[in-house]
């Protein structure tokens, strides 16, 4: 790892970058240009972000707060919990002394904002013993925390293996390497049976005990209730955006997906996140009313990404889709399955309900939400079983009128690479031209963006989609 990376703690860099970006968002163009110059390391990607307007600026501010809280956690006597993106962070915010840090979000930021991407951190993990073939999405920031170039972690709480082994494995490695307590929520291979629900609920209670024991903080019912009520509003806003997404042309800009899920992974239940969703909805409504596509250009095709949608060190995937007039109809990362979602009819009996009547119902709610986080829901069982990967992909592709499906992921993902060829066969049988991207969504060294883009070009052209 380059020595200079250890000089500035990673989270401090994030905090500073986003603070400046927030300022820049509110500044005049001239001030903006000046400010951007002083943002360290950034490869010029903040500019296009800022160009997205209000929601993106709110998003940047939200991340500024998130990382600012993180770097001040220790001095405020708070404990830092390392967690994963497919874990709803609400529970941490319900404690008065816990601050979460989600590694995958950090990896996306590092790889998008920094010229050299997250390679140094990834390679550092390998150097201290973590296997190189593991998923890159954790390694991209985990390296910093392992190297001591980030805040000190107090404990690790994640979703457990069987959903994604390589993910849980990375976190358990980190916990062990740093000598910190570890808790994993475990998930059976099915979703709907009562016994499974019971399992979720009991396991979640054990998690809360773990957080109490190792955090020493207080779990605050009122706080939890207000967080859940805020989440309810957030779900409604999200649903409305998704409902509008069904229109042809789709009025939702593709990059919104990234902002929406990143927001949910980090700041679920926070008023700022609600504001961002409101601002998004406004833009989407305006687009919808005028019949404009969120692409900013006429829509020629609609693609559903049945796994991850970003590509390392640039927003290439989003950008490519927009430039080629293909609407992004969502990815597996942007589906959460509340009981009022527009796609609930397609997936009956599998959504969660927010119930704030009492402590128990609230904990059950959290457990149910967590059991439906991206991947946690979709890839826990056989891909062709009820409510699993194939059914979810088909129902979402259908409800959003997608014309083709694209897989993009990471070679670290045993779980999907073990059956993606099979699901592709089935999606094709159902009439969806399907393309597999062999790149790594977080590590640009696996396949260059140019190659990925060339293959995308070819796919859309040859399959007669464009």
């Amino acid at each position: 790892m380059r020595p200079e990376l250890k000089e500035y703690p990673l989270d401090q860099l994030f905090a500073r970058t986003f603070q400046l970006a927030r300022k820049a968002g509110r500044a005049t163009p001239k001030e903006q240009a000046l400010l951007l110059k002083s943002v360290p390391y950034v490869s010029g990607l903040l500019e296009p972000m800022l160009a997205l307007g209000a929601p993106a600026i709110t998003f940047l501010g939200m991340l500024a707060d998130y990382y600012t809280d993180l770097i001040h956690a220790k001095e405020q006597g708070k404990k830092v919990v390392m967690t994963t993106f497919c874990f709803d962070p609400t529970i941490f915010y319900a404690f008065d002394n816990l601050v979460p840090v989600t590694l995958e979000v950090g990896t996306v930021i590092t790889s998008i904002l920094w010229k050299r991407g997250a390679y140094d951190f990834m390679d550092f993990c390998t150097e201290v013993g973590f296997s190189e073939t593991g998923c890159s999405s954790q390694r991209g920031t985990m390296g910093a925390y392992l190297a001591g170039a980030g805040v000190n972690i107090d404990m690790v709480a994640v979703n457990m293996g069987g959903i994604c082994d390589t993910n849980s494995n990375a976190y358990s490695f980190a916990a062990q390497y740093l000598g910190k307590p570890f808790y994993g929520l475990d998930y059976p291979a099915e979703l709907t049976p009562d016994a499974v629900r019971d399992y979720h609920h009991q396991d979640y209670r054990a998690l809360i005990r773990f957080l109490e024991t190792h955090g020493g903080g207080r779990f605050d019912i009122d706080r939890l209730r207000s967080l859940l009520e805020e989440k309810q509003i957030q779900d409604e806003l999200t649903n409305e955006i998704e409902e509008l997404q069904r229109l042809v042309p789709n009025p939702v800009p593709g990059i919104y997906h990234l902002l929406m899920y990143a927001g949910r992974y980090t700041c679920s239940g926070s008023p700022t996140f609600t504001r961002m969703l409101r601002e998004m909805l406004e833009v989407v409504r305006v687009n919808a009313l005028s019949g404009a596509a969120g692409l900013g250009r006429p829509e020629k095709c609609r693609a559903f990404l049945f796994y991850i949608d970003n590509f390392s060190f640039n927003v290439g995937m989003f950008d490519w889709l927009a430039r080629n007039q293909v609407s992004h109809m969502g990815s597996m990362l942007s589906r959460f399955f509340p009981d009022n979602a527009p796609y609930r009819r397609e997936v009956p009996g599998t959504c969660y309900t927010i119930d704030t009547r009492g402590l128990d119902s609230m904990i059950d709610t959290l457990a149910d939400i967590n059991a439906r986080m991206p991947m946690t829901r979709t890839v826990r069982g056989p891909y062709d079983a009820p409510n699993m990967w194939l059914e979810d992909s088909l129902s979402l592709a259908k409800i959003f009128n997608a014309e083709c499906c694209i897989y993009n992921g990471t070679p670290g993902c045993r779980n999907t690479w073990s059956n993606v060829k099979l699901i592709m066969r089935d999606l094709e049988k159902h009439g969806y031209p399907t393309h597999l991207v062999y790149a790594d969504a977080f590590d640009g060294r696996v396949e260059s963006w140019e190659t990925t883009a060339m293959r995308l070009d070819e796919f859309f052209k040859i399959r007669g989609l464009l």
């Binding site: 390679d123 550092f124 150097e127 201290v128 060294r445 696996v446 963006w449």
Partner: protein
Amino acid sequence: MSIVAGCDVGSLATKAVVMERRRVLAAVVVRSGPKPGASARDALDQALAQCGRSAGDVSYCVGTGYGREKIAFVNETLSEISCHAKGARFLVPSARSVIDIGGQDCKVIKLDANGGLVKFVTNDKCASGTGRFLEVMAKVMHLPVDRLGELSLQARDPVTLASMCTVWAQADIIKHINARRPAEEICAGINTAMANRVAMLANALRLENDICMTGGVAKNKGVVHALARILGQRIKEVKTLDPQLVGALGAALLAAEQAGKVNRKELPP
């Protein structure tokens, strides 16, 4: 006067060193042929001819390298790790770390203050940390492999190779060629990719100074410089002998030790 020999049958090159009293009498590198036994014979014969000795003069011979099992005339075989460590310490007595990059793998060796083997790692994951990687890339560039190093030193803006895989890196290179990037920048990209890969292995062992590089790839200045830069550590060059010969040298040194033991045993008290 009895002499000793070391013979290193590598995947790409076969090396022989003949020594007398810790002094190198002759050293030879030949391209490995399809029969390792014959390549070894050939290399040793050439070396003996060089110093005007005959096979009968060799009191002890140690074989190493991939083809070591096939060398008919050796008294003993030892792994390349031990031989490179031995040879490197002889040439650079302060060496605590040895990085040997040969044709089909790369080895990073850590030594204690007395030159004892503490730990080693080899790349078993991907071929992109090997000399073969460079050869394949050189071929794509229509260049001889020994030109990659000096050319790359002239580069101002090295290309980056996205893929670490030898096979897929070729596609990257062709892309850069098509984009008309100057050859030296592409070469620098190749050497840097190689160095990155090796650095990962080296960092895993937390190398101590002095670091010494051996094996054929040590002759590629581009890789050596890039590696030193990435590691942030100086690499001591082996100056008195072709670094590709260090394995064979180590074998010869070990042969001398063994010969000493044998002789002592045989001598009446």
